[in-house]
């Protein structure tokens, strides 16, 4: 693993867009610089409206940008591509495909023959704990299962970087805790490079190797908090007494709260 060459690089990225109704120019991001190294999980927190979802959409290639440069494996991002997989906040798996066909969709797009595909698909179904649900349709799954299916679908397409946009925001608190622990286990098993966007400080501290705190609009990179806890030790039952975790969480929380009050005063 080469720690020196980053997988994802963002340099001097700024973004303005016209408001859909008033036409005023909205300043969403200001001079963002960041680097994601192989196998690293970086979480991004910030007050709502700080542009963190805008950043993700730019990296996914779904939103054109013109100030600054963003690249993956040295290739400048100009549009969506299979090197960047996205896990969306909403349930983005297709209702008209079964769990297995949703998970294998990326491979199907790449025209990989069905026989080869099935083995990989089954591995990912097992990895996210959906064994036995292969032939179910999404409406037959719970909210948490749908998000697991989405994570498996994104991983199965084997992207260089996985971008996650508040993926656990819409599930209940119990399920969220389970999903966070599972994502930690999956990150350990697959060694994927992951950018994880969230508004929940606990989640950011629990999952991130580093946590980037964004300022209120226009979003700037305000602070980077390192969380030095080995992945295998990250279980919620231990975190409440883990000094490193508590210190990191409190630091992130204080930093975010400052920004929230700025946002409210404005």
């Amino acid at each position: 693993m080469n720690k020196l060459i980053p997988k994802l690089v963002v340099e001097g990225l700024s973004h303005h867009y016209p408001d859909e109704y008033t036409g005023e120019s909205v300043h969403a991001l200001e001079d963002i610089n960041l680097e994601l190294y192989e196998g690293e999980l970086v979480s991004v927190v910030g007050p709502s409206g700080c542009g963190k979802s805008t950043l993700l959409n730019i990296l996914a290639g779904l939103l054109p940008y013109n100030i600054g440069v963003a690249s993956v494996d040295g290739e400048v991002i100009t549009g969506p591509g299979p090197d960047r997989g996205v896990v969306f906040q909403e349930h983005a798996i297709l209702p008209w495909r079964t769990v297995a066909r949703n998970i294998g969709h990326g491979l199907e797009i790449r025209k990989i023959p069905e026989k080869e595909r099935n083995k990989t698909v089954q591995d990912f179904i097992n990895l996210v704990g959906l064994t036995g649900f292969e032939d179910k349709y999404p409406h037959e799954l719970s909210g948490g299962m749908k998000q697991r299916c989405q994570v498996a679908r994104t991983l199965c397409a084997d992207p260089v970087v996985m971008l996650m946009d508040e993926p656990f925001a819409a599930v209940d608190a119990q399920t969220r805790i389970t999903l966070q622990e599972e994502l930690n286990r999956i990150a350990m098993a697959t060694k994927k490079t992951i950018l994880f966007i969230t508004h929940a400080v606990d989640e950011a501290a629990f999952l991130g190797d580093r946590c980037l705190v964004f300022s209120a609009r226009p979003g700037r990179l305000k602070e980077i908090v390192k969380i030095d806890i080995p992945r295998e030790k990250r279980v919620w039952a231990d975190m409440n007494t883990d000094a490193v975790f508590i210190a990191a969480r409190d630091k992130i929380l204080a930093s975010v709260r400052e920004e929230v009050s700025v946002a409210v005063e404005e």
Binding site: P80, V86, A157
Partner: protein, 292 residues
Amino acid sequence: MGARSKMMVFSRLSVALQRRFGRQRLRKIILGSIPFLFFITIWHANTVFGWLPPVFVPTIGEVWEAIFFLQEDCPGFVPLIKLDNDCMMTTHILSSLGRVILATVIGLPAGIALGVVAGMSRPISKFLEPVGVFANSISGIAWIPLAIVWFGVGWVTTLFIMLNTIFWLMFFNSMLGVRSIAKVYEDSILTMGGSRWDVVTQVYLPGAMPSIITGMRMSMGFGWRALIAAEMIGGDSGLGFMIFTSAAEFKIEEVFLGVIIMAIIFMGTDKFLLAPLEKWTVERWGLVWKPS
């Protein structure tokens, strides 16, 4: 047989029927047939009590016999499917059905294709939508006089009227169907490296299915009605032509027969084509509310 054993027979029959069809379906069949049985009873009562003269309302027997009267000169199965004009009833049924099938085969894919394109592209929808609104505002049958002038009486006119009705209905329903799909599905295909074509076949078409099926239902309803009207005025065969000419000759039992055949064909297409299609697509995918 005593009252008690009669009850026994009845309850055994009821249990057997419930086993055969299932409780829910049996209830549906029974409840659904009640209005028809009521209607048939009133019809027969009319014959018995003579409320309305037979010139207006024929007897059930006369309508049944009309089938054999119309098919009287039919020499057999082969001329029947060759549309030999001596097999009067089947010829009219087949020519109506032929138009329905032809109009569907052309109009359905064309309407869906253009509707999907208009649904995904703003410029194309700006280009096509006003024409669509214009064409849709003129009811299908209003085209009949013009169609007769253009194409004369016969197949082309009747086909044109039905095609015109089906095409615009499918166009609008497919367009609205595509527009109602959540953008995240499209984004998810693109971020997995999918092409525009992948988005069309894997997101737009299945995603617009609820709307497309509604369009098919409306097409069947409005298209069938327009066809019957077109056959009456601008046709030289078909069920609409048959009831129109029979009425002119005061063969009221043939008019009744024609109307009943139309209703049966229409109900048949819904039950054996549209309902199964709905069940295996949008209902299976959880996209529509399913009655319990």
